[in-house]
């Protein structure tokens, strides 16, 4: 009964709703990683891991996920061979 609320001067407090919605929306806006950045990250990860083990580059997926504790970067990297590469390899 919002008209009763206003009659008795009770706060409908839509500003509080606005504030919490804004905080959430802006948090997502700010942490949005661009496709370009994700691609560069993928290249970096491939380069680093390939020095040690054989991975399936084509099957690799990199993505972001939002959870309660903020945003996570998730890399799904299929391994071709578990045998460690020798120092001379690639």
């Amino acid at each position: 009964m919002s008209w009763l609320d206003s009659l008795f001067g009770r706060k409908s407090a839509s500003a509080q709703v606005a504030k919490s919605r804004l905080k959430f929306a802006i948090q997502i806006d700010r942490s949005n990683l661009s496709a370009e950045l994700l691609n560069s990250l993928q290249e970096d990860i491939i380069r680093a891991i390939s020095q040690r083990i054989d991975i399936d580059r084509e099957g690799m997926k990199i993505s972001t996920e939002r959870g309660e504790n903020g945003q996570r970067l998730i890399a799904d990297i299929p391994i071709k061979s578990v045998r460690p590469k020798t120092a001379s390899g690639e």
């Binding site: 919002s2 409908s12 606005a18």
Partner: protein, 270 residues
């Protein structure tokens, strides 16, 4: 002496960039500073009508950039305030008619002639915004206490940072103290907490803004209007003075609220 270039921007349209540019220009000029206002909203020229100078336009910013007119020919001097000049936007071209390098050259040519160059940025985050921001020494972001405007302001703050400009300052426009008091409008502290930048001014919602724009006489010329005084204080802060932020009273009287409540009980009166 070389001018300070201040770009006024917002992301979202309709929050009052042009009104802000015009009024800060007027307020600085009234304090004896030489000011040039540049309308960077090519294709949607409006600073001229807000300043009441629309009848005197001969050349525009694109004419200057493309060499058809000299900068001094295109600048229009305000007869009420000889310290104030305006460079109009082109109306028949689009934002790609000017590039950021040309904006840099244009402002560099002006710097030795004035104390302040105010750039009225177009809405959006693309070409026109990049033009407006390129020569900025300082950036002022205008927002209203609404979710869409604040969110866009946050985006713009990020882009200003990415352009390696100094941290922008905020003008909170169209604040309605009565609504804030009722808890139905984001308060100044809420907006500052979300955006995490410094405040340079609060402008209350004021009908004088509309009536003054109707007449082409910016409200900063009016020492009785609340909004006019707000711009005067912003100009003082731009000049480095420490001016306390005014606390605006709810000017909706009990009678008015009662009338509003009768007309629209669910709206809670506005």
């Amino acid at each position: 002496m070389t001018a300070t270039v201040i770009t006024i921007t917002s992301g979202k349209g309709g929050v009052g960039k042009t009104t802000t540019t015009a009024n800060i220009g007027v307020a600085l000029a009234r304090r004896g500073k030489r000011v040039a206002c540049i309308d960077a909203d090519i294709g949607l020229r409006n600073l001229d009508v807000v300043l009441g100078l629309e009848n005197r336009i001969v050349y525009d910013i694109v004419d200057v950039v493309e060499g058809r007119a000299r900068l001094r020919q295109a600048l229009i001097r305000d007869k009420r305030l000889p310290e104030l000049q305006m460079l109009p936007a082109a109306q028949t071209r689009d934002k790609t008619a000017v590039n950021p390098q040309q904006m840099l050259k244009l402002t560099d040519d002006l710097r030795s002639e004035v104390d302040f160059i105010l750039i009225d940025s177009p809405a959006g985050i693309e070409h026109g915004f990049k033009n407006a921001i390129a020569p900025a020494d300082r950036v002022i972001i205008v927002t209203t206490p609404e979710v869409s405007a604040v969110r866009d302001a946050d985006r713009i703050i990020g882009l200003v940072e990415a352009a390696e400009k100094p941290k922008p300052q905020l003008i909170l426009n169209r604040l309605r103290p009565g609504m804030v008091k009722r808890g139905d409008m984001l308060a100044t502290e809420d907006v500052l907490e979300i955006l995490a930048i410094d405040l340079i001014g609060i402008v209350p919602e004021d009908e004088s803004i509309i009536t003054s724009a109707n007449r082409g006489a910016p409200v900063a010329l009016d020492d009785k209007a609340q909004a006019g005084l707000a711009y005067t204080r912003i100009a003082a802060r731009i000049l480095g003075q420490d001016v306390p932020f005014a606390v605006f009273e709810d000017n909706s009287t009990l009678l008015k609220r009662f009338q509003n409540w009768f007309r629209n009980p669910n709206g809670g009166g506005s």
